[in-house]
């Protein structure tokens, strides 16, 4: 990995007696696309605002390029932010908005214009340069906002849920625009969102935050397949969480007793102790269904409760005799072979290696 651009060193943020962020300790690498994701109120936006200097950390240090940033005023930093509200200046034209930062930095009029035009052109909105913001569409405003930040040619770009106000089809398009830009410019993007699809689609690494703490840092795949703990597993969703007690450990696998049965799991890095509590997770797309009882140990006999279609993918919601919910995700054309209806009973199974033991905290 390349050298760290930003270091959060035991950073905390208190608002009165409320602790918004407790103990952030992580690095942001040069040139990576990092997404910070979590439910609302998890402290992700506060984290971003601390990076931009709009909030000062109560405890700890934030270092950018090795320099401690705690007391640097926002206007003395080079950390442009793309706002959730876009925060475009309504009394200026598109080009004047893009020129704003350069004007504040004392760049000459001619250069300002030239650089603004270059970026408006790059974003494909040069034809609107003299239009007022109120006459532009949501997608066009989005591009003006991006151009306004990128014209500063920063090392790092901060994005605070910038796509949340757009229509679904525009979101997909802007995701492509953002990832292309990031690869092309090679600058670091820090992208705050509550949307898993946005974070997983674009980011190199994802930080999952909850209640002001980091739940997990990792690539989207790591987080999806191997959530570190129950919070992350539940937040990521679309997976099956089973909890119980360790019955026996046998080398690289272990038996766990749960109300739904006894299952075999790989022990991976997590330290398991016999008789102690343990839980594990299986991604919904790694579950198999069958009408005949499967041969392995990891299986459950369930009743179909409901199904949910998203495009060609379908998610089945099932329940076993103990009332534990299971989810299965599969292609619609595969499912059609089974001709299932709500209330039908069916066998579920999964490979031992598909299970992932959670760090019980």
């Amino acid at each position: 990995m390349s050298k760290p651009l930003v270091i959060f060193d035991k950073v905390q943020k208190h608002f009165g007696s409320f602790v918004a962020v407790k103990g952030l300790d992580f690095e942001i690498h040069q040139g990576e696309f990092l997404a910070i994701m979590g439910p609302s109120g998890c402290g992700k936006t506060t984290t971003l605002r601390m990076l931009a200097g709009l909030e000062a950390p109560s405890v700890g240090e934030i270092r950018l390029n090795g320099r401690v940033m705690n007391d640097v005023a926002p206007h003395e930093r080079d950390t442009p932010l793309v706002w959730q509200s876009l925060a475009l200046f309504p009394f200026l034209t598109a080009r004047e908005n893009v020129e704003f930062g350069l004007k504040m930095r004392g760049v000459s009029k001619a250069e300002r214009k030239q650089r603004a035009i270059k970026w408006l052109d790059k974003m494909g909105i040069l034809e609107f340069e003299n239009r007022h913001i109120s006459t532009l569409s949501g997608g066009q405003r989005q591009r003006v906002a991006l151009a306004r930040s990128l014209v500063m040619e920063p090392q790092i770009l901060l994005l605070d849920e910038p796509l949340s106000a757009l229509d679904a089809h525009l979101v997909i398009r802007m995701q492509a625009v953002l990832t292309d830009l990031q690869r092309e410019l090679g600058i670091t993007f820090v992208y705050v969102t509550h949307s898993q699809s946005e974070a997983f689609a674009m980011a190199d690494r994802v930080i999952i935050m909850g209640k002001g703490e980091i739940g997990q840092i990792g690539t989207p795949k790591e987080i999806y397949r191997a959530p570190a703990n129950r919070f992350v597993a539940e937040f990521v969703g679309r997976n099956n969480i089973l909890a119980g007690k360790v019955k026996s450990i046998d080398g690289r696998s272990a038996q766990i007793t749960t109300p739904s049965g006894i299952f075999t799991v790989p022990t991976n890095e997590v330290q398991l102790l016999e008789g102690h509590k343990a839980s594990f997770v299986i991604s919904a797309d790694l579950m198999h269904i069958a009408t005949e009882e499967p041969s392995g140990t990891n299986k459950a006999f369930c009743k179909l409760i409901s199904e949910e279609f998203v495009g060609s993918m379908v998610t089945l919601f099932l329940e076993d005799a103990q009332g534990h919910e299971f989810k299965v995700q599969m292609q619609e054309r595969e499912l059609s072979k089974f001709d299932l209806h709500s209330g039908d009973e069916i066998w579920l199974s999964w490979d031992v290696q598909s299970a992932h033991v959670l760090n019980e905290s």
């Binding site: 005023a73 926002p74 206007h75 925060a87 200046f89 930095r105 109120s134």
Partner: protein
């Protein structure tokens, strides 16, 4: 449908009657200002501009008009500046006793004018500042600053609070942000406030009369004339004062309306 039409008709008449009630005296004053007869009686005499000529020939009235213009212009600038500062402090900062702070600022217009005028006179003469033109400016600024603050505060409330942070984020210091973001955003309200406070100051009588000393403004001169005798010159001056104030108020409203429409668009 039928019923609502009748209702609309009645309401229409009601509105017309209210306007008639409010504007009739002013319209009569305008009509009589062009009447050749000395006493305001019907039937009217001939059309005449005699009273206007008299007014224009009177150096005292010219002086009063000049005073009025200086006072309302200065008052507009001072009151709008003060109003902007208080409105911004309310927008930007949260502090203890903010409620009482705002209530205190909005208090002057609720005090009966005559009491305000007496208090101003007592205070200004105590500190040796009464009887001057600037005495009126001071008193009017106190009186009109709350209007300025109310108009500008309304505008600031329409502002996305991220706008200011966005300007800092793009390298603008607090002063630059004030100059290039906050003031431009408030521009329609600032103009609206300038015209409104100028209008209020231009035709304010009670406070001017108490603190002006020998530097009378137009409304004060009108009273001085009426006290002496019945003179249709008063109608002529009244028409001028009314038209000036109305023009200012209409301008204030135009800026107010334009920004409301813009606010709805964005």
């Amino acid at each position: 449908m039928k019923q609502s039409q009748t209702l609309n008709f009645i309401l229409g008449i009601y509105v017309v009657m209210i306007f008639a009630f409010v504007f009739a005296p002013i319209i009569f004053s305008m009509v009589f200002s062009f009447n050749s007869q000395r006493f305001p009686t019907i039937p009217l005499g001939e059309f005449s501009t005699e009273w206007y000529e008299k007014v224009l020939a009177d150096p005292d009235i010219w002086k009063a008009a000049r005073n009025s213009l200086i006072v309302s212009f200065s008052t507009a600038l001072i009151a709008t500046f003060l109003g902007f500062c208080t409105a911004y402090s309310d927008f930007r900062y949260n502090f203890r006793f903010k409620g009482p702070y705002l209530a205190l600022i909005l208090l002057p217009p609720t005090i009966p004018l005559i009491i305000m005028a007496l208090a101003m006179l007592a205070w200004l003469s105590k500190i040796g500042m009464s009887g001057q033109l600037y005495s009126i400016i001071i008193a009017h600024s106190v009186l009109t600053a709350p209007f300025a603050m109310a108009v500008i505060r309304l505008r600031l409330n329409q502002m996305d609070p991220d706008l200011e942070s966005a300007a800092w984020n793009l390298g603008g210091s607090e002063w630059k942000t004030m100059r290039y973001v906050i003031v431009p955003f408030c521009k329609p309200a600032i103009f609206s406030s300038l015209f409104l406070t100028a209008a209020v100051s231009f035709d304010e009588f009670a406070v001017s009369w108490f603190v002006s000393g020998l530097n009378s403004t137009l409304p004060v001169v009108v009273l001085e004339i009426v006290q002496g005798n019945i003179d249709p010159q008063v109608n002529a001056i009244g028409t001028f004062v009314f038209l000036t104030s109305m023009t200012l108020v209409v301008l204030a409203q135009l800026f107010f309306a334009s920004r409301q429409i813009k606010g709805m668009q964005s």
